[in-house]
Structure formats: C-alpha cells, structure tokens
Symmetry: C2
Subunit: 495 residues, 2 copies
C-alpha cells in the first residue's frame, strides 16, 4: 500500500504534509492494518527521494493524532483504536531549561537499542494517574449547567466559587485565607512571572536558593534582576549566608521552596522556618513561597508552610495543581496580602487577562464533590510505593561514594556523585541505555556543581526503578573505574 | 424562610459565606421557590445587623453559581434550573484598563432605575453566539480519544495538529505559513506580553498607534519601554509623522492593527499597507500586526493583512480566537519569522510553559470537521445586521456635531463628540440610564482626547441598539444645551 504514495515536489504543500495526509488516508481506510509496521525512516526517504526529516515529521504528525505508535528500537506501527494508553511518550519537564528540553527531544532519536525509556527526568505525573472519568463527568455537568457562560469572559482574579473552594481546601493545611486574598493563575510558572512583573524592576535584587527551579531564574533574569543565590543545606537554606547577604543588600523578595525543595527534596526544619519569618520581620522582607508538593508527605514529617505560620503578611504563597492533579489544567493559585491586591491583579491582567473559565468551574465542582481527597490519597499511595522502591534500589545498587538524602515526601531525589563525575555526561550515557535523568547543573544560577543529578519518581514504575537504578549504578561504577584508571596512569608515567 | 437565617459573628467563617451557604441550602431544598424575590440588600443587612457588603457578596456568590439571577432595578430572584441563558451579565472588556474595569463593576451597583443594561462597552461576543453543542461533542470526542494525554504536559510551541490546522485555515486569508512558524499562545494578550518579553528591554523604544489597545500599552510600560504614539488617520497611521519619528529613533518594533483598528475601527488603505512594508525594509523594522477582527468584514473592503503581503520576514502576526470564536478559550497564535523561533519559545516557556492541551485538541477537531466556516459566517451575519442597525441609529438620532466613520467591518465605532463634551462624563451619565460605553481616553497613551467614545456591537441586540443610541443622543443633546447655556452666560454677564 505504501507503494501508492506519490509526493509532488512542485506543489505548494509541504512534502511532509503530503506524506502525512496520504498515510492518514491509508490508515483511516484500513488499507494499512493495525500493528502494521511502517517502513523505516531511511528506507522510505530513499524510495521517495526525500529528506529523512520529511518522513520523521510525517510520522510525528501521525503519532500526535494517535494514528501510529512508536516502539523505540523497533519502529513505527499503525495504531489500534483507543491505543492511547499503550503509547510511549517522553514527558517534558517544567523544571528543565528549554534549551535542555530541546536537546532532550533531539536526543530521543538516538535511543535505538532499548525497548522502553525509563524517565527519571520528569517530576510530572503520567496520564495513567489522572482522574479522567470523574473529570469528564464534571466537565459535562458544567457545560449543561453554565453553557456559554463557561466560555465567556471571566474575572481576572478568578472564578469566585473556585476561590471559595480553595479557601476551604487549604484549611486542611492550616492556612486561613479570605477569598479576596486568592488569585487564580494559569499555572505556577505564570504565578512566578506575575510576581516578577509586579515586584522586580531593572537591577532589583532577588534572593533564591542554590540550587533552585530554573523556570524562576529565567523569569528573574528576564526582568533584569540581580540574582543572589544562597546555598541549601539538608535542613533548609543556609541562614548564616542569608544573614550576611541581608547585611549587604535588601532584596525585593526571597523565592523559597520550604517543603520538598526542587531539585533537592530537602525541607526546612521547623526552627529554620521560624527563623526565616523572624528575619522577614526584622528586615521587612517579602517571601514568595512556592509549594507544589507538600501534599505528598510519606511520613509524619513537618510539612507546614511558612504561610500557615504567623507570617505577618510577609508571605505570598504559590500552589500549583500540576503535580498533585493534572499538569495540563494550567491552574495554580496565589494567596496574597491585601496591600498587593491591585498591583498583582494588574500583572495578571497584562499576562493573559484571565484563566480558562471552563477548567476553573470543573475544578470547583471537583472540590465541592470531595473527590479531591481520594485523588490526593491515591497519588500519595502510588508515589510512596515508588519512593520506597527508589530508596531501596539506591541503597542496593549505588556505589558508596554516591551520596543522597531520603526526604520525607515529594517526588525528587538529589544525588551527589563522586567529584569529577559529570552529571551531564552520565545523563548522556544513560540516555543511550534508554534512561533519562536530569543533570543537576541546570538548577544552578552560580557556582554550578557538575556532579549532581536529580531523579524523580513521578513517571516510573517500581520495575523501571529497579532496572533503571541498577543500570545507572553500573554506569557510575564504570566512570569510577575509568577515573581510577586515569589516576593510575597519572602517577605511574615514569615506570 | 429567610427568617430562619442566623449568622454567627463569633465564627471563623466569614459572615457572607455563612449567609451564602444558608441561602444555597434553602434554594437547593426548594424552600425558596423559583422566581422568589430575595430581600433587598439594605433591608436584609438591617435585619441581620450586618454590612451591606456582606449581602452583596453572598448574592454574588449565588449568582456566580446560577442559583439566583438579578434584574437590574428589580432585585435578586431565585433561579429556575437551566436559567443560564436568561441571566443578565456585564461582560468585562479586555480592551479597557483594569482600573476602569473595577470602576465599571462598582458603578454597577448604581444602576437601579432601568430594566436592563445595554452594553456598548465590550467588544467580546456573548454566550448566545457560542457554538456550545458542537464544542461539547468535540470535547467528549477528544476525551474518549486521548484520555489522560489531553491533560499531560504539552509542547511549549503548541499541539502539532492544531498548528497544522491553523496553517491550513489562514491560507484563506492569503497567508502562507510553515507549521514551524506557528506558536500557540494563551490569548492575544499573552502574545503581546511574550513579544514584549522577547524584544523590549529597559528604555527601548516602541511605536504604537494613537489611540490604541490599552492592554498593549500596559505591557510595554511594564517592560519600561519608551512609547511613541503616532496618530491614526481614517486611512491608517499618519505616515508623515511616522517618517519624522523614524528619522529620530529606530524602534524595537511597531505595534499596529491595520484592519478594523481598536478602538477606531479604521483600516489602513492598501497604499499605506504597502508603504509601511517599504519603510520596514528601508529602516530594517519589525512590525507586530495584531489582527483580531479581519474575519468580520461586511463588504468587499480590502482586509488583507500585512503578513499576507510580501513582508520579507519583518512581520510577526498575532491572531486571537476571542472575538471570532469564544473568549473563554484563551487561545491565539503567532506567526513568527524563523530567526525569532528560539527567543519567542523561551518567552512562552517563561510565561506559562504551555497552553491548555484539551482546548487545543478540541479547536483542532473543530477546524478539521470544518465547522469553523459555519461559525464565522453565523457571526459575520449577526454582526453585520447589528452593524447596519447601529449605523442607521447613529444617523437617525445623533446630533450633527457628533462625527463618526463607518468602517467596513469589525465590532467598533469611534465617535468624536463636540469639543468640551467629555466621554467620561457621558459614560457616567449613560451608566445611570443602564447604558455602558467605553470612554475614549483610556485608549490614549499621550495627548488624550477627552471627547471620544467607543461603541461596540458585540453584545447588543438590534432593539437595544435603537433604544441605546436614542438615549445616548438625548444625553449628548442635553450636554450641548448645557454648553450653550454656559456660553450664553459668559457673553451676557454685563446685561
């Protein structure tokens, strides 16, 4: 059937679009049957006399439409109907610089000799964990109830009933908030962008943790801010360094993740949380507290937010639903002290006027029907199992010279490799074995540490964890051998 | 039944939440029947011993949940089920400064003696024009097809099949684009914000039209840009002034709306469009072309975009689906010359990482099933009728001293009142009669003209247009009388 394909190079239509359309027709007419293997890229490009990229683009389009699926190392196959759940996909991670992302995508082509990618690089949950059935029901309920109003203009501050639901929901986390203090935003990244627009001007100073979330660094840099990063210790930010920096300069705000920090997974001790708030009072500071994971605690650890302590109106709290619900919703909220209401509302307005009203309405019902608690508890159970499997595998396989802590919650583990072992190099080697990890250096603004990597448990099964960590450990050991070989070499040249 | 309500002032729950919850229970248990009038705000606040605001907030919450509806001048009533379409609402307009919005909302309380608000202030379509039935069907189709994948992470550039659909769709407007050039954004406002992030640094210069869209001005100001506004004439921007400004300074870009400009409704002549592109070539300029209304042409006018002419890669095109589809979707796209791909993608990433994948998938199917053409044609017919009604009413009722042009498409008409008549004052007086108009001065960055107003036809029926314009004309005549009275006074003081 493939023989019937003819591309017209004189047409104004791109060749890959022509190819995609013809293949789609063949598939939809069942002339290409389910699970039929499509010709390998090089073979088809040769026989059609076109570039490899033409074939890749056409296959990608078909894949995005779920008309074909790819098996890494085997090729591209015609999909069965509703094959969606079998589809393999690499999820891009919001915590990784876009340059890195682009690179990750390109490198995907190289993975040829493994059956399946093991993805430790993303902290985003996978579609099998999403509550699609209730969500679909509520979506239809909203459409029947509100019809066109769900698609009309919404208030920039957010849908009032949702703000009320959120105000109730966060009481469980000891946060008391007036609904006026709640601002809906289109994801935590937008929250950070809006706050940067509101508070940062050319040359203003901002303090962040080192390492930290690179999406925040990019935004602060874009506002031409002066960024000072302060080291993270296992019990939170280094207070001595912080005090020394505060004696030199007052920042517009501190951007902190006190619970299950990204990328380290470290949490601030209760003492440090209180100390930070004291310092805020002493120095008249504003703190932006980014809390996306505190729902995912696996023990009795202290995961109180700064906002829930007595913050004297010095904390702006950001909470995303990406990690604990579904990333595609693009929903997060801020809790804002009253004096900033108008400035932040204007920044929201400038950013995108308002957040999708349909999704806000569905999430509101989700809270009101109390399905929320079930979903969080399901996620927490799933992740706790994976977390335990991860800790076990790390202890079992990793060479002793690799250091890591065991945080009491969240999705990330932070490995400190022996010095001279590069996280980036490990990432590249692992990718060839079908294992994706996040090289640590992307999380540093200054004083990059080359020998760190972040492993996340959001998108891997227990079996993948076991297999993936085993392979990583082997790679690290090979690096260590090589290192000692070089070392031997260097002290024995005279022999 | 209302007598059963009891508020607990010692509770940690806000009083208005308590009131809202008790009223909701009464309504849901049918103890308050359909169309029952709720007590007037002042009466209830007095009998409960609370502030008026408490009642207003509780009623607003009920209204947002469609449990009650308001009749301006009559009060608040218990809603019937599925009463949504009867609901009155004031739509906030994306073209009006947020400060103005806030004021509009507050002023809403003052409207007591008219039956219904006539809203000439918004250029956003109303829910009765939304294609809810096909949209719901496609939404369910996407959920059945893609399930969780619709809610997972999406590519920052946008969903590939949608980019392909858009590339096909804009061929009708003589725009040829490669799908790589298309960047999905969360509404035109975000598009402007992303471009400002990409191109504007502290003190950079940008040229805009005078008057122009205030949402763009806010963004450019937030980037601390130096804004130069160049007057709009009836056939487009003033080329002489533009050339004079170009001889002094080269801007980072020009932000232009060549078809049915906001707020004036003016379109550039073909000659001016070509001249602008020549100037862009001569001076090596970048043009941002914001085109949200060119689909709504009511005649055979030239509504070609700059992008469709030979632009030599100097035009970035923004198109929103808010005005021609549904504002709540939060979807727009950019067409970008290749040299800016990476920078703009990074700015998108910093803004919100990616745009809601569910809505992108539904819109893609909407295009592929070719329902699009029907919807546009339905909108165009509806608006054309209103547009004719508007022109007729303006000619019929307005005093001759009010000047206006009749644009050949779009949603806005720009009235030039006699000097000394303030658009803002007219707005305030009109609002008391239940008529909302956009005072022209919010559209000026410099050299504000006080005597302009913008009337939009997006949210008014033919009958409302007739009645509204008649009342406006009367108000203007009263102002003129008052003016001549003052004038008489001033020349006859000696008598």
């Amino acid at each position: 059937m493939i023989e019937s394909i003819q591309l017209d190079k004189s047409s104004s239509k791109h060749l890959y679009i022509q190819l995609y359309l013809q293949l789609r027709d063949l598939i939809e007419a069942s002339k290409l049957k389910e699970h039929t293997k499509l010709p390998p890229i090089r073979k088809l490009s040769k026989s059609l006399g076109v570039n490899n990229v033409t074939i890749v683009n056409a296959y990608n389009l078909l894949e995005e439409e779920n008309l074909v699926y790819k098996k890494v190392g085997s090729g591209t196959f015609v999909a069965a109907q509703n094959l969606v759940e079998d589809r393999e996909d690499i999820y891009l991670d919001e915590e990784v610089y876009i340059d890195e992302d682009t690179k990750f995508i390109e490198e995907r082509e190289e993975i040829e000799d493994v059956e399946k990618l093991i993805n430790f690089a993303t902290a985003a949950p996978t579609p099998d964990l999403f509550p699609i059935t209730p969500f679909k029901r509520l979506l239809n309920k909203v459409l029947d109830r509100d019809r066109g109003y769900a698609f009309g203009y919404q208030k920039s501050q957010g849908y009032l009933p949702l703000r009320q639901s959120i105000s109730e929901y966060i009481k469980r986390y000891n946060i008391e908030s007036n609904i006026d203090e709640i601002q809906i935003v289109s994801g935590a990244q937008q929250g950070i962008d809006i706050l940067a627009k509101t508070f940062l001007d050319y040359g203003d100073t901002v303090f962040v943790e080192r390492p930290t979330y690179p999406g925040a660094i990019s935004v602060f840099k874009s506002r031409r801010a002066n960024i000072i990063d302060i080291p993270m210790k296992r019990d939170g930010i280094d207070i001595e360094v912080l005090e020394a920096e505060l004696s030199k300069e007052k920042p517009k705000f501190l951007y902190l993740m006190p619970n299950y920090q990204n990328p380290t997974g470290y949490s601030y001790s209760q003492e440090k949380k209180e100390r930070i708030l004291e310092l805020a009072k002493e120095h008249d500071l504003l703190i932006i507290e980014d809390d996306c994971l505190s729902d995912l605690n696996y023990g009795n650890s202290n995961n109180l937010s700064l906002k829930s302590l007595s913050d004297n109106g010095r904390v702006i709290y950001i909470k995303s639903f990406s990690k604990i619900f579904m990333p595609g919703l693009r929903l997060a909220f801020l809790i804002i002290p009253e004096r900033y209401f108008n400035d932040i509302l204007l920044s929201k307005y400038m950013s995108d006027i308002f957040t999708d009203g349909l999704v806000q309405r569905v999430l509101d019902l989700y809270f009101r029907e109390e399905i929320w608690e079930d979903q969080i508890s399901k996620l927490r159970q799933t992740y706790q199992k994976r977390y335990k499997a991860m800790i076990n595998a790390l202890h079992k396989y990793l060479p002793q010279r690799v250091k890591f802590t065991t945080p009491a919650g969240g999705l990330n583990l932070w490995l400190e490799l022996p010095e001279n072992i590069s996280g980036k190099k490990l990432h590249q080697k692992a990718l060839k074995l079908g294992i994706n990890i996040a090289p640590g250096e992307v999380f540093y603004y200054s004083q990059k540490k080359e020998n760190r990597v972040r492993l996340s448990i959001a998108a891997v099964t227990g079996e993948q964890i076991e297999r993936g960590v085993k392979s990583l450990a082997k790679l690290i050991e090979d690096e260590l051998d090589e290192e000692s070989y070089h070392w031997d070499n260097s002290i024995m040249p005279l022999v």
